[in-house]
Amino acid sequence: MIRKDARVLLEVQGLCAKVGGADIVKGLDLVVRAGEVHAIMGPNGSGKSTFAKALAGHPAYEVTGGTVTFDGKNLFEMTPEVRARAGLFLGFQYPVEIPGVSNSAFLRLAYNTMRAARGRDELDPLEFDDYVREKMKLLEMDAAFLDRSVNEGFSGGEKKRNEILQMALLEPRLAILDETDSGLDIDALRVVATGVNRLATSDNAVVLVTHYQRMLNYIVPDYVHVMGGGRIIRTGGKVLAEELESRGYDWVKAA
């Protein structure tokens, strides 16, 4: 939902970032306000995922220029964990497996860290168990996933549901979902999209990073941005995504 007077959550100006010595993001500008859903689209190698990871603070992604203000603060003065506690969430394209750490312990630790950051009391394991089971219903997840090691042996769809479960628990102000639709069959896509829609409010914002338009049939964006050569080269509404679907990315480049 676009409200011109809504608070600015994210302001990116002239962002440049490199990974493995190569310049990938080259002067990216973006403003995201509370209540908005943005889609960042573009072909492989256009810099979408690099942008997402640089915002979250992945150590392999080096920011070489530009500024990013998150909720009024300089994002680059914050470590990845401080960004997370301030309300930035990255839904991973490839969620990491952590054998030996039970999913329930991990989720509780993350949740309680966020509670503490917001000045609220931590939940004990029993209280948390009740709470997380409620949230799992939203994503039609079996409670058995609590007892397994984090993401270990999860299918692609299960890993993505687990990401959105974390989003549901952590209640971020800004969620960047990196290729959350990849590897999902149509049922899983519907469940994940329904989950995201329920979590979107007028106080938070969602940035969907995606190659394909199909997720946007379920999560309707207010803005669609097309990346090319490390920058946003075109911005439009939902209709732009449909045009991309039928005409491909080359058409935007030519424009």
Partner: protein, 435 residues
Amino acid sequence: MNAITAQHPYIESLLKGYEMPRSGISWLNQRRSRALERANALTVPTTRDEEWRFTDVAPLTKVNFRPAADVVRLAMSDISGYVIPEAPARLVFVDGLFAPELSDHAGLPSGVVVSNLAAALGVHAAVMEPHLARHAEYEREVFTALNTARLRDGAFVWMPRNQKCAAPVQLLFVATQAEAAAYPRCLVIAEAGSECTVVEDYVSLGDAIHFNDAVTEVVVGEGARVRHVRVQREAEGAFHIAACAASLAKDARYASHTVTLGARLSRLNLGIVQHGDGVEVELDGLALIAGRQLADTHSLVDHARPHGRCRQVHKCIVDGGAHAVFNGKILVRPGAQLTDSSQQSRSLLLSDRAHVDMKPQLEIFADDVKCAHGAAIGQLDAEQLFYLKSRGLSDSRARNLLTYAFAAEVIDRIPVPSLVERLKQTVLVRTQAVA
């Protein structure tokens, strides 16, 4: 014949004043005498010995250890933190001496024998004769020779043919006195078709510097199954040198879980010999050490017969100026065809001063076998670390959690739930302490 004429002054000091018990069992007297001869002849190993290259036992020889002079009477409340509630039988030894008032074997199925060794020798000598001091090698190993020469008491577990006991038997060795040396001896006989779980647990009350020279022999009969858990969580100043020899008959299954948390210097020689076709072996090892600790595990899996399967995982977590050693040898003898044996060793170094020596050794003399080994030494996985931090966990919290997970993977496979919980709690405390 039983004179102490040790070549090495430290061996002499350990044997000083020792009088060999005169038992009426001649085979035992003979074995003890032979072991004493060997202890007299052998010297304390140095780093010039290939088998002790990485482990300098000099700190041990600086302490004048003596068998405990006094009997320390403990109450159940002193050891309750170590008691495994699900165990139907528990033998407790204090400074090497059997403590019947702390032991219990009321919950055992009839026919199963769990007894202190000295008492068992009076009743079951015929069952023990083919095995006691027959599997643990004392001809060349001075500490095994010492233990055997001093063989007096310890634990005896006998599972007669086809007897099964799902619940674990606990053998708890408690050290309390400074400069006390103990020579605990265990013999586990699982006859054909039987099944049991044995937990050997070495603990200290307080921080006394003591020495355990422990030897365990495990005999797994045809088609029998033994799960063997060995926990060494002694005081940080303690010395612990141990040998565990397992002998496996046809189709035997043996799973070993060794957890090393304690002692200033510890060494475990783990030897598994496959005497029959088609055995199945699982070896899990974990050493979690810090400060000035040294933990050395030497394992030998001897595939002397065909169709043996073995899966071994050994992990070390080393912090501070600690030093871990792992030497894992897999021997496939001529004719041991269709052996399938794998070994993985992984180590985590948590400080710049931490040190690990890993030496995988594959010696293969058969041509139709599958053997693999992998060794990795490193730091924590950067992607896992970032994933946790991206969820708000602090750097130290994330590192501790991953360190914990590295250890928990091994502990989770221990088949005794209450012990798993307690060890995980210990590891949790330890890994948070190393922030």
